[in-house]
């Protein structure tokens, strides 16, 4: 939670500094982002490979666990497609790419900015921040109306860290394990799915 706040502060500081136009030209023109993104992908990969929590959870619950992230993905995409048709400026491909952030706003917005456009990157950032906030606030209501897996699904990739505490409180402690596994699987899939959606079948 506190980390999310710091991330948004860094983002806001960047926006404000950019607006003032105080920065010398060479700094703003060079594309550092790409290399920082490469570094980030390598580090996220290593931390996932080195962490064996997911294997341990899988051993105790079995393959049924994979149904939860699968359902989050299909449900999210099924919900995003009709609203993309509704939105004048968002194509289905763009809508799916934003949806495939599953709340992991930092990574998804950066990849979308690199692969597609800054405009869609901003939409992805806002949309996935909203997803995290909605889950943080509404987890108890979601569990009551849509069953105890609902806050896990709504949390998306964040169900392994930022929204884990509220999920455990709303659904019960035994769901923390499911939420952890679910979040790890989605965290792995975010870069893969976003890249695939934006680049597959020609753009």
């Amino acid at each position: 939670m506190r980390q999310s706040l710091y991330i948004l502060i860094f983002f806001a500081a960047g926006v404000i500094l950019g607006m003032t136009g105080l920065l010398p030209e060479p700094i703003t023109r060079t594309d550092y982002t790409k290399y920082a993104l490469y570094l980030l992908m390598l580090l996220v990969g290593i931390s996932i490979g080195a962490d064996n929590k997911a294997f341990l959870v899988l051993k105790s619950y079995g393959m049924r666990l994979f149904l939860v992230p699968l359902v989050t993905i299909t449900g999210t995409f099924a919900g995003v497609i009709p609203v993309s048709l509704l939105l004048e400026h968002i194509s289905i491909r763009e809508g799916l790419a934003v949806g495939a952030g599953f709340g992991y706003y930092s990574l998804s917005s950066i990849i979308i900015t690199e692969l597609h456009s800054e405009v869609l990157g901003v939409v992805a950032l806002l949309s996935n921040v909203i997803r995290e906030i909605l889950t943080l606030i509404l987890a108890p209501l979601m569990a009551m109306v849509f069953g105890k897996l609902a806050p896990v699904a709504a949390g998306g990739a964040t169900s392994m860290d930022t929204t884990l505490p509220v999920i455990a409180r709303a659904s019960g402690k035994q769901f923390a394990i499911i939420a952890l596994f679910h979040g790890i699987v989605l965290t792995i899939l975010v870069p893969v799915l976003v890249t695939f959606i934006l680049t597959a079948f020609g753009s």
């Binding site: 960047g14 607006m19 290593i46 359902v71 919900g79 680049t199």
Partner: protein
């Protein structure tokens, strides 16, 4: 951008050699956090420098909200179905 997937997979492969090394995981997480700080700062910078985005921020916010509501609603309904079919009786 096959590089993203390649670096990511290479990372996971490298990580397998450092299983359960708490210190490695700790430093990776620090590194991730600071690269996210840096990247979001740079993203903010490019957005602040882009008048097209700054002028359209409210309408971009509406698009983001609508997409989120669609995605979350879909995932909630799918989760309800899964809960009723596979989990309710056994948890």
């Amino acid at each position: 951008m096959i590089e993203i997937i390649l670096l990511f997979s290479a990372g996971i492969f490298i990580g397998l050699f450092f299983r359960r090394k708490a210190r490695v995981i700790y430093w990776m997480e620090r590194g991730i956090l600071w690269s996210i700080f840096l990247l979001l700062f740079l993203l903010g910078l490019s957005i602040g420098l882009n008048p097209e985005i700054m002028q359209n921020l409210p309408s971009l916010g509406v698009r983001a909200l609508v997409l989120t509501l669609g995605g979350v609603a879909g995932s909630l309904l799918a989760a309800l179905l899964l809960w009723k079919l596979f989990f309710r009786k056994t948890i």
